[in-house]
């Protein structure tokens, strides 16, 4: 007895299997992007599960967006640092 509803992990595995047709028709480079996106959602399994969503893939999409946002923020910070560095170098030349 006990649990009969599958875990979020197996649920996401199932959804990924359903996306196989979509994935197969992508270019190889794009396949890697898709894999990366799907993998990034796995970092938030607890949150996806805690959402209690009827359609957990919706919560997984949100998790993917969050990971994108994290990367954007990190890149923005890097750009900011590089820009500062560039300005300093240019000022130094002047």
């Amino acid at each position: 007895m006990g649990r009969t509803v599958p875990t979020i992990t197996s649920q996401l595995n199932e959804t990924e299997a359903m996306l196989q047709g979509f994935r197969r028709a992508l270019r190889r480079g794009d396949q890697a992007l898709l894999d990366g996106l799907l993998a990034s959602a796995r970092r938030h399994l607890a949150a996806i599960s805690a959402s209690g969503a009827l359609l957990p893939f919706e919560a997984a999409l949100l998790a993917m967006l969050m990971e994108q946002a994290r990367q954007i923020t990190a890149l923005e910070e890097e750009v900011h640092i590089l820009r500062e560095e560039l300005i300093r170098l240019r000022d130094g030349q002047d």
Binding site: M1, G2, R3, T4, V5, T7, D35, G36, A39, S40, R42, R43, H44, L45, A46, S49, A50, G52, A53, L54
Partner: protein, 707 residues
């Protein structure tokens, strides 16, 4: 009639074939007593009054006493029942079976209680408990308890232990000799000539008169062998009894196939087969005695059964003590719920994926016996569901003393020096109680648990998830970052927090907020959370290794922990961890560790490893004929079958990889597939070292060239 009064210990109770109950007692003067005792037993039937009247008539003239009573059903409240009492308790199961067959529509109660559970409930005397008893030399007249099951330092009966071992695993080779140890003496007898062996064994049994016979393969080989070859040799102390043989079986439990070997049980003494007693290796005799003491199941039963049987027996004791009927079958149906609610609540514990990588100065906080503690604190019991004002339920009443005792034993252990002679005994007892607590949650949701209910099961996990979220919030409010949470533990770190003292305020805070005890498992000098094997971008729960400040290693989910890893590979991983543990940061030692791996691989390539260290183990997931592909397990199973051995699902098989596949017998060095073992070593090394290798050193771990 001369009455004799003695103090001593109750060792066991059982019934003789005629149905009378016999108590095995050991008095302080060292005498062993096997005394029949008047012990009528009662079961109950309830249901349609007309059918009950028919049942009453059916029982007339069958040597039982019937009466009308009102008893308490946990779910239905007061019920009018037909009480059926038999004077010889051994006759109860058969009487009940016949009645149930004739009247299947009735509900039956107290119909399948273990006899020892009935006995300890009625006499208040736990098994192994100290007592005062009165006898006329023939029968037990009275018995009074002097000790409870919850005694922290129970008195111990002076046991005589005999150990019998054969010289080979009978599943692989027919044994040729047995070794018998009693006290400080050790005897070796060959199986042939058989008569000499039997005479010697009989003589030793009579002379030494052991209370415990501890064997290897006693269940599956020794006692069946003796019974076949020498029916005249009776290893029981009770000469009126024969050895009780129970058949082997494979069952599906805890999400896996389990194999239970045949069993051989004795009367008037115990037989424990180390190879067929699941927990015995971990808890030993002290733990087994503790389990028997608190559960009321005989020692021979507790070492062979799962702790779940122990928890069930404890619940039955609570029910008997409190006048609650124990239903023969569970009948509670799940209340209806919406699809939405099913998805929301039918979930397990909180698993918060770890942040993959190396982390330094990390504390691990554990909720102490989280699930049972929740059941007690939140009064989770099938009859208290959705009731806020309910008095303590049956499950919390059962678990409360168990929790308290285990906590007290743990506390006692902490105060003792590691070298103290009491440490091992306390550890064993504490572990025995831990196992009972571990399974009590699962039993709440077990389909056949008489006092289980799926909604209560879900309530426990829902509360545990909530508590872990509260713990996370507390940690974050105090500036810690939560690296990983796994059901009842969390891993946290904070800049500048390095010693235990830095984490104690958090422990306090979580404890205060949740009302559940929290302990600081320790502070890791470093810990590494590993990613999934198939994709390094995906974190995996409960797969890590680390070293505490005092140098102790802890690892989960790696090859070293798996039962199918061969000793050579496991030892390699342990050596790698030992090497890494010397550094403040494991990455500093990557080079040394890798050199060590190469050395281990070279040893294999030079065929320098002992063949025994290469023995692989596998648990059969299905019967051999059900295998479709010739996996190593299937090949090993078929080889054993070809040797005429019975192989069943759930059995653990041992084999070696050879150039021609696998072999269930130790191969010669020339036959061993050394490259395969080298690959296994590299895989195990990669599991640990991949994540630690410096960015400039990134390379695939591969077989070094043999020089």
């Amino acid at each position: 009639m001369v009455k004799i009064e003695r103090t001593g210990w109750l060792m066991d109770v059982y019934t003789r074939p005629q149905g009378e109950l016999v108590c095995w007692l050991l008095s302080e003067d060292g005498q062993r007593w096997l005394l029949p005792f008047d012990f009528p037993a009662t079961f109950y039937a309830a249901g349609n009054p007309g059918v009950l009247r028919q049942a009453w008539r059916f029982l007339q003239g069958r040597g039982v006493r019937c009466s009308r009573q009102v008893r308490h059903d946990l779910f239905q409240g007061e019920r009018v029942v037909l009480a059926v009492t038999v004077d010889l308790p051994g006759r109860l199961p058969e009487t009940c079976r016949r009645l149930a067959q004739a009247f299947p529509a009735l509900d039956y109660y107290d119909a399948d209680l273990p006899l020892s559970v009935r006995f300890v409930s009625r006499t208040q005397l736990p098994l192994l408990g100290r007592c005062r008893f009165e006898t006329d030399g023939q029968r037990l007249l009275d018995v009074q308890p002097l000790e409870s099951a919850w005694e922290m330092q129970p008195s111990l009966p002076p046991l005589r232990v005999m150990e019998i071992e054969c010289d080979a695993d009978p599943a692989l080779h027919p044994p040729q000799a047995v070794t018998v140890r009693c006290g400080k003496r050790c005897y070796r007898f060959t199986l042939q000539p058989l008569r000499a062996l039997l005479v010697n064994l009989q003589a030793l049994l009579s002379m030494y008169d052991p209370d415990v016979i501890l064997t290897r393969y006693g269940d599956t080989w020794l006692f069946p062998f003796l019974s076949e070859q020498a029916a005249s040799l009776n290893p029981n102390r009770d000469e009126r009894m024969q050895v009780e043989f129970r058949r082997e079986r494979s069952l599906f439990a805890y999400g896996q196939v389990l194999y239970r070997g045949a069993q051989a049980l004795l009367f008037g003494r115990w037989h424990i087969d180390r190879c067929n007693a699941a927990l015995f290796a971990e808890i030993g005799l002290s733990g087994a005695l503790e389990m028997a003491r608190v559960t009321g199941l005989g020692v021979q039963e507790v070492v062979r059964k799962s702790p779940g049987a122990g928890i069930t027996a404890m619940q039955m004791q609570t029910a008997l003590r409190d006048g609650v009927l124990v239903p023969a079958v569970k009948q509670q149906a799940e209340a209806s719920r919406t699809l939405d609610s099913l998805i929301r609540y039918d979930r397990g514990g909180m698993v918060y994926q770890p942040l993959v990588g190396v982390h330094r100065h990390v504390a691990e906080l554990d909720f102490a016996s989280m699930y049972p503690a929740i059941m007690v604190r939140y009064n989770i019991s099938p009859e208290t569901l959705n009731r806020n004002d309910a008095p303590a339920g049956l499950i919390p009443r059962t678990l409360q003393p168990l929790l308290v005792k285990r906590l007290a034993l743990k506390h006692c252990l902490h105060t003792l020096d590691r070298r103290d002679s009491r440490v091992n005994d306390l550890k064993a007892r504490q572990t025995a109680l831990k196992w009972l607590l571990v399974v009590c949650f699962g039993y709440l949701g077990y389909k056949n648990a008489r006092f289980g209910r799926v909604e209560s099961h879900e309530a426990v996990t829902a509360i545990s998830r909530e508590l872990l979220l509260q713990a996370k919030e507390s940690a974050e409010e105090m500036g810690f970052s939560v690296l990983h949470m796994y059901v009842d533990s969390l891993f946290v770190k904070r800049e500048g927090a390095e010693g235990e003292a830095d984490f104690l305020p958090l422990v306090e805070q979580i404890q205060q907020q949740t009302g559940i005890g929290v302990s600081l498992e320790g502070v890791y000098r470093w810990v590494v959370f590993l990613p999934a094997r198939r994709d390094r971008r995906i974190p995996v729960a409960n797969r890590y290794f680390g070293v505490f400040e005092d140098g102790t290693l802890k690892y989960r989910g790696i090859a070293l922990r798996r039962h199918d890893t061969c000793p050579y590979v496991a030892h390699t991983q342990l050596e790698i961890l030992g090497c890494l543990a010397q550094a403040d940061d494991p990455r500093e030692r990557w080079g040394e560790a890798w050199a060590l791996v190469q050395q281990r691989v070279r040893s294999l390539q030079r065929r320098q490893a002992a063949v025994e260290s290469l023995q692989m183990a596998v648990k059969l997931s299905r019967d051999p004929q059900a295998f479709r592909r010739p996996s190593a397990a299937a090949q090993a199973a078929r080889q054993l079958q070809a040797q005429g051995l019975a192989v069943r699902a759930g059995m653990r098989l041992f084999f070696w990889f050879t150039r021609r596949g696998v072999s269930v017998t130790p191969p010669s060095a020339a036959e061993v597939d050394w490259d395969r073992y080298a690959r296994l070593v590299l895989q195990a090394a990669a599991e640990i070292l991949d994540l630690l290798q410096p960015a400039y050193e990134v390379r695939q771990l591969h077989l070094p060239v043999c020089r």
